[in-house]
Symmetry: C2
Subunit: 373 residues, 2 copies
């Protein structure tokens, strides 16, 4: 591990498996548990950096695959790196692109050295290797970067055995390639739903030693119970002194249940993608603003919510914006959904620090149950 | 004219034909000359009300035709009127829908009593009469409302003769139907490019007496010179004590040349529509952010501009957002274009108040000429 004075993780408190920590990066501190809004193409869709500040975003995520293809990582480096490029002076994490080259790119061919694929933007051919994924992420200049990995279908054992061997070999190569002391490198634990593979992966990566551990390959079709079993297993195997980042998860419920199993960091496009389809996250469940019952509803999206959308606009207006396909509707619903995710993460942290996480968790689920009963 | 203590227009200064005034409305004062951002569907596309405040918007415009069809003027009235509905506490002007029923609606049939048309949204049949247009605008509750009119092709004399007779008859009916003392009613001068018809229209409407005079039927294909000749004619015929509002115009250049011919108020979708197509207005001309030459350009859209977009983002980033079809790109370009329009209007006003409008106008054109030579 490249030592970096600019990067540290202090575990402030634990309450059962739940943890509250502080991640220090060259671009500021990230209190954990943390939900990271996703800015795939160097913008969290429909929000500006000042909107993100306002709702309390700490670290945000950007996507190696997308930015490599467009506008190009070398261009971003010439323009001063990702922080300057997108006008976000806070912490950024870039994923490795491993998931995207296998899910978004076209005509991909994977071998032990890397992945050849065609761009989903223009069909041009490209190749990612572990070294290339690190080089791109160094050009982008995020505070936290992630190893290149192969994410296999969660319930295919043979595939996962093969993919895990590659993922581990690539983790070694990523670690060797990692050169910037101002960037922390996270390993990625894979192994699908299989306890033996997940355990092997956690031990292998912990032995290699990383500044943090991403947990990949979950929330891709397995059941919540299967995901929870993997998280519980990993909580006992991953080094406690480093942050654990559950990739691509989730919802307010996922945050609560992930933290209950030792997770510190989360990211997911769900709150932002839902918003652009009229979906609203609330503490009592979901609603879709397209529903005709909101046409005359003067109430805010979520009574009691302090976000700009809830403080100033009715469901009736937000439904109108959605019906009329107005950009402001996407903006306001995104603002609300992310505000909720960030607020829930803050509440969880406060509960852990106060030693009352279980009470928070019970109240959280009780509120959901009451509203749907 | 219904007297209203809540509404007045004070002509603070004149400098040649150029005027600087103050329009007082129940929702605040509007310094003139004023550019009114267009919020067709109860939202200025891609901006929130707080964005509009930030860039100094005074009065904004909303559209009777669109809001009648969706979400419905009666619904908006039940929800407290347009100001409450859209979260905009400043002044609002609604147009009459006359232009839209003839340009946007389908299978329209016009007679002396009104217009029957089919909705462009769902094909349903509707009918607007002068009384209906006023009733809708009373439901919406804007500070300034406008007479229902027939807008004819600018260079068709016979058509304009007929349309003008209807427009005048409808102006009388609108004035008779106008009932809310907290709304000011503007007449609309029509007559195409024809001096005799424009003069007839100005005299007829001035005799009827309105709180202000909209100038319709321009910027629809005639030359700039033809538009200017109409404005110069009307400046000598319209009552000087009421504001003149040139509908659907324009650009920074149009503002300067309109004010030079006695116009006080302007609206246009151009700055917002252009923005969503990558078009940028500047003091030295236009640029399109899609152009490949901006791909590596670290400069702001317009050096020296103080808007949020120019203060924080490069042309390279804004081009990337446009290429990636990101909402934030539409937002930031819209913010910049409207900021420029509002700033130019403020500068013109200051110049008129200081008695140096001609110097401002000369400098404005000289800057444009230098940049394109």
């Amino acid at each position: 591990m490249i030592p970096s004075a600019a990067f540290s993780f202090d575990l402030g408190a634990a309450d059962g498996r739940a943890r509250a920590g502080l991640l220090r990066t060259p671009h500021g501190e990230v209190p954990t548990p943390a939900f990271m809004p996703v800015g795939t193409q160097a913008t969290v869709k429909a929000l500006s950096p000042r909107d993100l500040c306002e709702i309390g975003a700490g670290m945000i995520l950007a996507n190696t695959y997308h930015l490599y293809l467009r506008p190009g990582d070398e261009r971003i480096a010439r323009l001063g790196g990702l922080h300057a490029f997108m006008g976000w002076d806070g912490p950024i994490l870039t994923d490795s692109g491993g998931f995207q080259v296998l899910s978004l790119a076209q005509r991909r061919a994977i071998d032990d050295d890397g992945v050849t694929f065609r761009s989903h933007v223009d069909g041009s051919e490209h190749r990612f290797t572990p070294e290339k994924a690190i080089a791109i992420q160094e050009n982008l200049g995020a505070d936290v970067i992630v190893c290149f990995d192969e994410c296999a279908p969660a319930n295919d054992y043979e595939y996962n055995v093969q993919a895990l061997a590659r993922t581990h070999a690539w983790a070694e190569r990523c670690k060797a390639a990692h050169g910037r002391a101002d960037q922390a490198l996270f390993g990625i634990v894979q192994g699908g739903i299989f306890a033996d593979l997940r355990a092997r992966s956690a031990r292998f990566l912990a032995d290699l030693g990383f500044a943090g551990y991403a947990i990949g390959g979950l929330s891709v079709g397995e059941s919540k119970q299967q995901m929870h079993e993997v998280l519980e297993l990993l909580d006992g195997l991953l080094p406690p002194a480093q942050p654990r980042y559950l990739m691509g998860v989730g919802t307010p419920q996922d945050l609560v249940e992930g933290v209950a199993r030792g997770v510190d960091m989360f990211d997911c496009v769900l709150p932002t993608r839902m918003a652009r389809n009229g979906g609203v996250l609330t503490r009592t469940g979901r609603l879709n603003i397209r529903n005709a019952r909101f046409a005359d509803d003067p109430a805010p999206l979520e009574p009691g919510c302090t976000c700009y959308a809830c403080a100033n606009f009715s469901r009736a207006y937000l439904r109108h914006l959605n019906q009329a396909n107005e950009i402001l509707g996407h903006h306001l619903l995104t603002l609300h959904n992310l505000h909720l995710m960030l607020t829930v993460a803050q509440e969880i942290r406060a509960a852990v620090l106060a030693g009352r996480f279980e009470a928070y968790r019970q109240a959280f689920w009780e509120r959901l149950r009451r509203s749907t009963s």
